[in-house]
């Protein structure tokens, strides 16, 4: 970071819980139906309607709490958060204030080879999502879609324990992997199943007191978290260096221009007039219920990571990267069913396979090459029937042509490795004969020219020659 400034970051993550019906009504929560077809009279806030708590949302919130070793509240009460907005049907949001279902907990993150860092979680509470205002559908009019209204949300509030955007992203990814492993959310950020606000402040290094913070809203991807925070840190530092003061305010991240702009200042902030929700009697959570949920907990990302290290012999680094994205980890394990080489599979999944997923913006579960086919491809490589270069080409080929088999693709591309001694000898002899000077120099002690010959042979064979054989035969011939 520039100069002697340091930044302090805390995140508020909103996770849509994947219950089938809404948190306070029976309407379904499925994403993508036509506007307002998944909003019942309760979601519309019609007169006389009443909220009834969906117990599934409670279960899912407890699951999260147990997974981060947090305290679970004995009594869960709700509160009304009052503000007017057209897509907030009742004029208040049912949320939690004093008795959040999940209390203090923590998770661990790690960047590169740095030490493990613990990020504190202040609380996580349940609330209902609002609807959506659509401004670009009709001219001069705003449309309202209340399908999302009443979708259960778990708002996870961290301590200001992160000191840069990388840590914030690592934290967000970790939360993402936990809620996905717990199967309490689909974690789909592009559909808004996981959204994030970041509190950012800057202070002189060594200062004990936190600087004035701004809250960044509307961040809906890992990339945007990084960009928004980085921009905001720079903006704040440049303000402070000019002698200006930071204004406590809410800022909106603009994903198109990669900037943040002021939305409202502290003075303009709503007085939410919280008070206990009289329509919902606080519910008691028993230790039996918590214990049962604890017992039923699935394997968590950290546990999976440990298993990958201890049982499959992966490095800490590889295991961590594989378990950030559970779909990737899942693809990894499915691939291993058909090829017993964890290290090879890891390299390819974290390397070229991830690259191709990124390139086409596809999740591992939607990969155009399934784990069986992927294992088959890597088996060709492992058995030295094709080279690494060729493997990459085939991967791209079968991705783009999902009906193509691995063997057909190799054939089509003419990439079958040459492992025939005679054929390779022929090529080698040709290369040696074509480069008499280099041969002289090599024989007179210039060892590094061996690489030159390998390169020439590979070039001559269009990359198809088995490198191991090339090495062996070259050694014999260059005498």
């Amino acid at each position: 970071m520039k100069g002697n400034w340091e930044s302090v970051i805390g995140l508020e993550i909103h996770v849509q819980l994947n219950s089938e019906s809404k948190i306070f009504s029976n309407a379904p929560t499925k994403f993508g139906s036509d506007q307002n077809l998944q909003a019942c009279e309760v979601d519309l806030g019609m007169p006389g309607t009443l909220p009834v708590l969906n117990e599934k949302a409670i279960e899912k919130a407890i699951k999260f709490g147990v997974a981060i070793n947090a305290e679970i509240a004995e009594k869960v009460g709700f509160a009304r958060k009052n503000y007017f907005y057209p897509d907030l049907p009742k004029g208040y949001q049912i949320s939690q204030l004093d008795d959040p279902i999940v209390g203090k907990g923590s998770i661990e993150i790690q960047l590169g080879d740095q030490e493990i860092k613990t990020i504190g979680i202040t609380r996580a509470h349940l609330e209902e999502d609002a609807g959506k205002s659509i401004h670009d559908l009709f001219e001069n009019e705003t449309a309202i879609d209340l399908n999302r209204a009443g979708t259960p949300l778990l708002e996870i509030v961290s301590e200001p324990d992160m000191s840069n955007s990388e840590e914030a992203v690592a934290y967000l990814k970790k939360i993402h992997s936990i809620v996905c492993a717990l199967e309490i959310s689909d974690g789909n950020m592009s559909q808004g199943s996981m959204r994030c606000d970041a509190n950012v402040s800057v202070r002189k290094k060594g200062d004990k007191k936190l600087g004035t913070r701004t809250e960044l809203k509307n961040i809906n991807s890992f990339k945007f978290v990084e960009k928004a925070i980085n921009f905001e840190i720079k903006r704040q530092i440049s303000c402070l260096e000019k002698g200006e003061e930071i204004v406590q305010e809410t800022r909106l991240f603009d994903a198109i221009n990669n900037t943040t702009r002021s939305m409202r200042s502290k003075e303009e902030a709503n007085d939410y007039r919280y008070f206990p929700e009289p329509d919902i009697i606080p519910i008691q959570i028993t230790s039996d219920q918590i214990q049962r949920i604890k017992n039923e907990l699935p394997e968590l990302p950290d546990e999976k990571k440990e298993r990958f290290i201890n049982e499959l012999g992966l490095s800490e680094y590889d295991a961590r990267n594989l378990t950030y994205d559970l779909e990737l980890a899942d693809f990894f394990e499915k691939t291993l069913v058909n090829i017993d080489d964890p290290k090879l599979v890891t390299n390819w999944i974290l390397g070229d396979f991830s690259a191709i997923l990124n390139k086409f913006d596809v999740e591992a579960k939607d990969s155009k090459v399934d784990a069986v086919k992927f294992a088959e491809l890597l088996t060709y490589l492992k058995e030295e029937k094709i080279s690494g270069q060729a493997t990459k080409k085939v991967l791209e080929n079968i991705w783009e042509n999902p009906d193509l088999s691995v063997s057909k693709s190799i054939q089509d591309l003419g990439l079958e490795q040459i492992s025939d001694d005679n054929e390779i000898e022929e090529i080698i002899e040709k290369v040696i004969n074509n480069n008499p000077d280099q041969k002289e120099q090599f024989l007179s002690g210039k060892d590094r020219l061996f690489g030159f010959f390998v390169g020439q042979v590979m070039k001559e064979s269009k990359g198809k020659a088995n490198p191991k054989l090339v090495n062996e035969i070259l050694k014999k011939k260059l005498v």
Partner: protein, 474 residues
């Protein structure tokens, strides 16, 4: 025979014995209702549908057990949502509101076979004690048209008193069933909070609102209450408890009573007539050989200020949904969103409603919450524990229903004076306790009422003592 003066029990018996038909009952009522239109009791009616239903019920072969109120006409307070029928809650805001669902109370009474004749006028959003805050104008007291019928269930009380039906539904947040019952010389019961589902009953103050019954006498109220009580999965505050047989229990000789009295407290008001009527009520208990015991309710007088913090606070949030966006009144010619809010709410709500929204908003505001709302909740708990203590020694508490008789329409202009109307009725709401009002005594040719407050879920005992008291000496 003038069918419209019969009690609910008499109508049930008469229909069973085929002394008259449901169609005759309905026709009778329609002619009375049309005669007395100027009482301004109904906001809307559907006589055609009522006659249709009456015909159907006359031909019905269903047993009395399945449809205990088969063919019986009744009236709903216009606070209960009725599917496809205008439900205004006494407000311009909902003058155009036709709910796509019915309140649980409405559904239950339909299932019991009763026939709704119309929707009764009421104070706007149930905020008022004289029916004068209604968008549709005040209801006139059938006993004296210059007087108020009380409020907020003024239309429901007047409907029974004017023989528009033998019983009606009402709601009671701070006395809105009992005070108008008292003013109109009829009986009323507000059951335990949670006994009757609030689903589809338009909310005023959620932690205090409770639906109940107004009827000619306690026995009739018990019969009707039976039909609307019970747990409802659509109302998280409704209580999972068996519903006893109220009409049987009402007349049972099994109940032992010790009635709690607060004679000193009543005397402390310095109102001779009030003390006198209370004294007469004690005499009646003595004549009936019912045990009494003087008790203390030390925090009773704090009920009024506590109520006027909690009720407006809850109402300020409950009424936020009326924003001109999805249903109800929407102002025209607005410039932007804020303007739409201001004008729709400014034009759609009446003054009393606005006043209470403002009070509630103020009480909940940052910096005032602890001083008002939180403190009020603490005192509410104190008042509740006063009753818990009292019920260690007594089975019910007797209080006046109101401090006086029905007053002239337009005569009370000071809001605090109006709020004082509820001084004896509010405590039962704060404690979630069941309470009745029984006609007893009179003043200036207008009826007075005596109130019995029972313990939580002890409606049977409460109805039993109220019925005994109403019937008087054998």
């Amino acid at each position: 025979m003038s069918l419209e003066t019969l009690t609910l029990q008499e109508q049930i018996d008469g229909l069973k014995e085929k002394k008259f038909s449901s169609v005759e009952l309905v026709e009778n009522y329609i002619s009375v209702i049309e005669d007395k239109e100027d009482l301004n009791i109904f906001v809307s009616n559907d006589f055609e549908k009522a006659l249709e239903k009456a015909k159907k019920s006359d031909g019905s072969k269903k047993s009395q057990e399945d449809v205990p109120l088969n063919g019986i006409p009744m009236v709903h307070k216009d606070i209960f949502c009725t599917k496809g029928i205008k439900t205004s809650c006494g407000s311009k805001m909902l003058d155009n509101f036709y709910p796509p669902y019915s309140a649980t109370v409405v559904e239950k009474l339909e299932q019991a076979g009763s026939i709704c004749l119309g929707k009764a006028n009421m104070d706007e959003f149930a905020m008022g004690s004289s029916n004068e805050t209604s968008f549709y104008g005040a209801v006139k007291n059938p006993l004296n048209i210059n007087k108020t019928p009380g409020g907020s269930s003024g239309g429901s009380a007047a409907a029974v008193a004017a023989n528009f039906s033998s019983f009606s539904t009402g709601t009671d947040t701070g006395g809105s069933i009992r005070q108008p019952a008292s003013f109109c010389g009829i009986a009323g019961i507000k059951p335990t909070y949670g006994r009757v589902s609030r689903y589809g009953m338009i909310a005023f103050a959620s932690s205090l609102d409770q639906g109940g019954i107004l009827a000619k006498n306690i026995k009739d109220a018990a019969i009707a209450l039976q039909c609307i009580s019970g747990y409802d999965s659509k109302d998280a505050t409704s209580i999972k408890a068996e519903v006893p047989n109220f009409s049987e229990d009402c007349e049972s000789s099994e109940f032992e009573h010790v009635v709690g009295l607060v004679t000193d407290l009543i005397h402390s008001f310095g109102d001779e007539d009030l003390s006198k009527n209370y004294g007469k009520a004690i005499e009646r208990l003595e004549k009936l050989n019912i045990k009494t015991k003087e008790i203390e309710l030390p925090n009773l007088e704090l009920s009024l200020p506590v109520y006027y913090v909690i009720a407006p606070a809850e109402c300020s949030a409950n009424l936020s949904r009326y924003d001109g966006i999805r249903f109800g009144y929407r102002a025209e010619n607005v410039e932007n969103l804020e303007d739409l809010y201001f004008k729709s709410r400014g034009e759609g709500f009446g003054n009393e409603t606005k006043k209470r929204i403002l009070i509630g908003t103020y009480c909940l505001s940052s910096g005032f919450y602890d001083a008002y709302y939180k403190k009020a909740q603490k005192i509410r708990n104190l008042i509740s524990s006063d009753f818990v203590n009292a019920f260690k020694d007594v089975t019910s508490v007797m209080l006046p229903t109101t401090s006086g008789e029905a007053f002239d329409l337009g005569s009370i202009t000071d809001p605090v004076e109006m709020y004082k109307q509820d001084i004896f009725t509010i405590p039962a709401n704060l404690g979630g306790l069941p309470a009745t009002s029984v006609p007893f005594g009179e003043k200036n040719n207008m009826p007075l009422g005596i109130q019995f407050i029972g313990n939580i879920l002890e409606e049977s005992s409460l109805l039993n003592i109220s019925n005994k008291f109403q019937l008087g000496e054998k």
